[in-house]
């Protein structure tokens, strides 16, 4: 995260809350999140359901549902604060400079329009490409995501494609305007293993060819291990640990990260018990005082329960929000 050039994306103390209609209940879905992503880097954001990782993605896209508000912070993208942009300006960023791929490809494709039409749409909208030119480019894009006989496929409709093909088509739409940043929210959850491997390899190739920065939002640490160079672990709306993937996998600093890594079954570990994390993820509208992980943490102290930990820098680009990490760190 310490790139010499200014980062492509930098979030500074970003918070987004969901507010109930009467304004009585507030859910801090994204709480004081800071992170930096350099051009061409791959960041994995890992967390359980309700940890705020999808809300964070929607915040970056400025596509939060109406009940949610961005309450504070800055989002610098290519030197501009995205929060200062008007809705019209934001529309020109979305799909053009920042694109997003969602979990369910069937829900992201319109069943009534042909594949060629949908892949070419961002080009027509953002670059004013004429229909014939957009269609030709769409075929090229389909070929680049390894769709066989793209000329025929372009004239077909989403229901005629398999799940893996649909996901690749959504990927083609994502890269159609050559964005600088692609956010993929659980892109392979609905795919089979061998198809998932194909898709991830394809993403890696596309990234190399286009110099794309990627954000993978996932609950699967395996995807992070395979794809990412940087990792941010979210728990209850906060980033509890972030840093280079290899460093965190080898020496996790936060007890939650440690427990998460220990709870994955491995191919060759035989029949030992897994180290499970006891308890349940917290309710975001009713967070405990102090560290949100303290009730489940095996090492929690009175200090942890009383006061929320601040971010400690452990090493170059590696930081954790845990009082126990404070010994080896600077605040």
């Amino acid at each position: 995260m310490s790139t010499v050039s200014p980062p492509l994306l930098s979030l500074e103390h970003l918070s987004a809350h969901y507010v109930s209609q009467q304004g009585t209940r507030v859910v801090c879905a994204v709480d004081d999140v800071s992170l930096r992503l350099g051009a061409g880097e791959t960041l994995g954001i890992v967390g359980e359901s309700g940890s705020g990782k999808s809300t964070l993605a929607l915040t970056i896209m400025r596509q939060l549902p109406t009940a949610a508000r961005i309450v504070s912070g800055r989002m610098m993208f290519e030197g501009e604060n995205l929060l200062d942009k008007s809705d019209a300006e934001m529309r020109r960023v979305r799909g053009k400079r920042i694109a997003m791929v969602l979990q369910d490809p069937m829900a992201s494709l319109n069943p009534l329009f042909s594949i060629g039409n949908q892949v070419g749409e961002p080009l027509r909208v953002h670059e004013g490409a004429p229909v014939a030119k957009a269609w030709a480019k769409a075929i090229e894009l389909l070929r680049s995501v390894r769709i066989a006989s793209p000329e025929t496929r372009a004239t077909q409709f989403p229901h005629e494609m398999s799940g893996g093909m649909r996901q690749r088509i959504v990927g083609a739409i994502g890269i159609s305007c050559e964005p600088r940043l692609l956010i993929a929210d659980e892109p392979t959850t609905s795919l089979d293993l061998t198809i998932q491997a194909q898709y991830l390899n394809l993403m890696r190739d596309l990234q190399r060819e286009h110099g794309l920065a990627l954000i993978f939002i996932t609950h699967n640490l395996g995807i992070v291990a395979k794809m990412c160079t940087q990792l941010a672990v979210m728990y209850a709306g906060r980033i509890v640990e972030q840093g280079p993937v290899k460093r965190i996998f080898s020496a996790p600093a936060h007890p939650y990260t440690k427990a998460l890594l220990g709870s994955i079954p491995r191919m060759t570990d035989g029949h030992d018990r897994l180290t499970a994390i006891e308890g349940q993820p917290p309710d975001l509208s009713n967070l405990p005082q102090g560290c949100a992980f303290a009730p489940r943490c095996p090492k929690a102290t009175a200090h942890c329960r009383a006061e929320a930990p601040i971010e400690f820098i452990l090493a170059d680009g590696h930081s954790a929000r845990c009082w126990l990490a404070s010994g080896s760190a600077t605040a």
């Binding site: 293993l193 061998t194 198809i195 491997a197 291990a225």
Partner: protein, 322 residues
């Protein structure tokens, strides 16, 4: 394979008739499960691995008696299921229970937990209400839920707790075999290990046998004693879980395990890139069903179907290994 198996399937086959077109009659069959054989010993776990459409869920349904096989046989404690009378079938259904993938869909939202867990008991046994309540509390304790859960509704529980309730319901009749169809796929990562540990503990305490179906290879390898790898309705490889995880032999198993995600960024995996996707089971390829995607396929693979034969410590269906 051994005489003491709790359940033994031989040449198990299920074909579904496929209709084509609005006015078309029956044309062709979907060969969902085609000649599958396996056996599970008491207290052991058999893992079934494969991608969508390989027939693993149909196999589970056949074992549960939710579908009738088109061919082959299932023997439970030595008795052929097809030959059982009505009373025998009732006994069988009590001995085999299931836990499904989605605990949000498998629990009735209008029933209290005590009613949900007691339902199999009330349906199958004439017991007095006091005993039923006692049994429900015993089971809640067994799966690690507090007693007061009995009077709550499903929406008051998280995913992991709901799966514990589903496990309690499956165990209330003291079954011998539990079919686990993707029991942790719908759960949060930090909860999965809890449920896998619970299933493991229950197996040791109660001597249960499991038929464990999952697409997470590491979870299957962790939980199972034996593994069956299926592709398009056929078994391509079967044997001890550890042996297969360490050294897969069949090209499909190799590709599957190579496609599994690493558990550490430094873990080096040989990349076996499979081209294409799983063909339709309506019209499976001739010869070896895997040959169109196989990186090592020969002319013989396209022409002749390889039998499942014993190679070293396991069974493999591949001409290259014969």
């Amino acid at each position: 394979m051994t005489a003491g198996s709790i359940i033994e399937a031989a040449g198990l086959t299920k074909h579904f008739p496929a209709r084509r077109g609005l006015f078309g009659g029956d044309r062709g069959v979907v060969r969902a499960v085609d000649g599958v054989s396996f056996a599970i010993d008491p207290g052991k776990t058999l893992g079934v691995v494969g991608e969508s459409g390989c027939g693993k869920t149909t196999t589970a349904k056949l074992v549960l008696g939710l579908e009738a096989p088109s061919g082959g046989s299932i023997r439970f404690e030595g008795h052929d299921l097809a030959a059982l009378d009505a009373a025998g079938r009732r006994r069988y259904r009590r001995s085999v229970q299931a836990v499904f993938q989605d605990p949000y869909a498998s629990l009735n939202p209008r029933m209290r937990i005590s009613t949900i867990i007691a339902e199999p008991l009330v349906t199958n046994e004439a017991t007095n209400p006091g005993n039923v309540r006692q049994r429900v509390l015993e089971l809640l304790d067994l799966v690690g839920l507090p007693e007061r859960s009995a009077d709550l509704f499903p929406h008051e529980f998280s995913g992991g707790q709901r799966q514990r309730i589903a496990i309690a319901r499956a165990l209330v009749l003291s079954p011998k075999l539990v079919v686990l169809d993707e029991p942790v796929s719908a759960l949060d990562v930090s909860i999965r290990a809890q449920i896998l540990n619970l299933l493991r503990d229950l197996q040791q305490r109660l001597g249960l046998s499991y038929l464990f179906i999952a697409h997470d290879l590491a979870a299957v390898a962790h939980m199972s004693h034996d593994v069956v790898v299926m592709y398009l309705g056929k078994v391509v490889e079967s044997g001890a879980a550890r042996a297969i995880a360490l050294k897969p032999m069949h090209p499909y198993t190799q590709a599957l395990f190579a496609a599994a995600l690493p558990s550490h960024p430094d873990e080096q995996r040989e990349e076996v890139a499979l081209s294409g996707e799983v063909p339709s089971p309506l019209n499976p390829p001739g010869g070896c069903r895997f040959h169109p995607r196989c990186p090592h396929a020969t002319a013989r693979c396209a022409a002749e179907e390889p039998p499942l034969i014993k190679v070293a410590d396991r069974m493999v269906a591949c001409h290259l290994l014969a």
